[in-house]
Amino acid sequence: MIDSMKYFKRESADAARAEAGSLELEALFLEHWTSVYQILRRLVGDPAEAEDLALEAFLRLYRHNQKKPKVENAGGWLYRVATRLGLNSIREWKRREQYELTAVQYALEETTQLSPAEILAQKEEWRQVRLVLAGMKERQSQLLILRYSGFSYKEIASTLNVTPSSIGPLLVRAEGEFEKKYRALAQGNAPAKKE
């Protein structure tokens, strides 16, 4: 019991430092929440799933900062972890099945210009795109996700820890790889294979 009491005392001694960290965390959260959520919302399609994953990304940042030196580029770290979580989510078959139903449901609710048949065709195409993304090398998938989500080269470079001048060549390679895999999947020649 005494051991436990020592532990509780230690916890109290850390409280002030934790409080300061909490304020910092809140500022980070408020600054990045919307972007992180929106990327995931578009990537996985399901709002509830996106919210869970976004919260998980922030939770990981919190845990990381508790145990290790604080990450310097918290925004980049968050986007990297969030996209990884999103890709993992797509890889999980059961969730993907659920996502399909949810994504179609939301698409039908949000889109009025296309017929249901067209929406379903588009969703099928996007499903395949997501599968291909989830089957590619993670760094390449993240690059494509960030770029097509509207990130500048500088922002992508900062997130993926590369130089801005390398983004162009990396994009060319990633798009080439994506095209190859997407064609293979679309033609039914081979399933998307995770590397």
Partner: protein
């Protein structure tokens, strides 16, 4: 003329990310323009396929709402982490095992009538010693994979509703009585070296059958099948304030003397230490439909009894009032003695390095225990008989 641009540079130029000087080359170079057009076609096609990534902002939880949810998660995680670390401590873990065992080995007499949905299941009126094989328990209390799994399960299943706090030193039996809420007794003519009062504690345990069964399986006891009905059952345990009266030079309350690897050192440091502990009976509540009898048999079998032995014991003990004290099979002896006007149990552990003894009895709803090092258990009996 400038050197031709690489595909990467051409791609950057399409995104407006190439510096102006390099980008000017494209105006002058047909070859680069042609290559860029090819890249642009690919880019447009990719842009079409990735359109869902660039769609208009979707409605979602605001940052403030999300922060509130996140803060809740953090709070829960902190609580869980604290509980988990708490249960990682050997002393607590062993106590928890004893508690789980206690719960497991309680059963109803067949004639018991159920009153209400929740039954006040257990209150100690007597003590009975049962010899068990500690191998299974050591697996659970150790630092191995199974021990860690058990710690995880406890941390997830147990909610501490009231933390007892650090023991408080009382100056006299009277003060200890006021703090603990019951009459503390001290043997006539003896002067305690210290009196400590530990506040009451309360916890609840929600049974996760799947994980508990997985633990049994992991321990190689797949033959023990937990009843499906136990899943989700909530068992609450209330432990009243306890008083520890020390005589001689004793370790601080709560010190893990038993876990000391150098036991002979312990004996040298506390040769004259005798501790008299007293506490009103803890109470255990469980849902009336919980199949405690089946759990009791499983608990006993896990501690090394055969199915027949377990069945025999469960049929002979008044489970609602008997505290079963497990002692290591072959490692301790016990006998019944007459103390304090009731029948008590004297347990002796005649280890060559650190012999120990403990005298347990229950009187007027209070559990008493006198323990010391060495083989002079007679002083425990005399001390008990000297209580006012």
């Amino acid at each position: 003329m400038q050197q031709h641009l690489s595909d990467g540079e051409l791609r950057a130029a399409l995104d407006g990310e190439l510096d102006t000087e390099r980008a000017q080359h494209i105006e002058l170079c047909a070859s680069c323009r042609a290559r860029q057009q090819q890249l642009q076609m690919k880019q447009l096609e990719a842009g079409r396929l990735f359109a869902f990534l660039a769609s208009a902002e979707q409605t979602g939880p605001s940052a403030q709402i999300a922060w509130a949810r996140f803060s809740q998660q953090i709070k829960k995680q902190k609580e869980r982490s604290m509980t988990k670390r708490w249960f990682s401590m050997p002393v607590v873990r062993f106590a928890a095992v004893a508690l789980v065992l206690l719960v497991l080995i309680l059963a109803f007499p067949s004639t018991r009538t159920l009153a209400g949905e929740i039954l006040n299941l257990f209150r100690v009126q007597q003590v009975q010693v049962v010899s068990v094989d500690f191998t299974g328990l050591e697996q659970l209390t150790g630092d191995g994979a199974l021990g860690n799994q058990f710690t995880e399960l406890l941390a997830d299943s147990v909610e501490i509703e009231h933390e007892p706090g650090e023991p408080v030193v009382a100056a006299s039996a009277q003060e200890a009585s006021q703090l603990a809420g019951f009459d503390v007794r001290i043997p006539t003519g003896m002067t305690p070296s210290q009196i400590n009062v530990t506040d009451n504690a309360a916890l609840s345990l929600t049974v996760d059958r799947a994980r508990a069964q997985a633990l049994l399986d992991e321990a190689g006891r797949s033959d023990l099948d937990l009843p499906a009905s136990v899943d989700g059952a909530e068992i609450t345990v209330s432990i009243p304030a306890a008083v520890s009266v020390s005589f001689g030079t004793c370790p601080r309350p709560g010190t893990d003397v038993a876990g000391n690897t150098e036991q002979s050192t312990t004996e040298r440091r506390y040769p004259d230490c005798v501790i008299l502990a007293q506490m009103p009976s803890p109470s255990v509540n469980a849902p009336a439909d919980l199949d405690i009898e089946a759990l009791a048999r499983i608990g006993l079998e896990f501690t090394g009894m055969t199915a027949e032995e377990a069945a025999e014991l469960t049929s002979t003990v008044d489970w609602t009032s008997t505290l079963l004290v497990p002692i290591p099979r072959g490692g301790a002896v016990h006998e019944q003695v007459s103390v304090d006007g009731v029948t008590g149990t004297l347990i002796m552990r005649p280890s060559s390095e650190t012999p120990q003894y403990a005298l347990l009895w229950v009187k007027d709803g209070i559990i008493y225990a006198i323990s010391g090092l060495g083989m002079d258990s007679q002083q425990a009996v005399e001390m008990a008989n000297g209580l006012p």
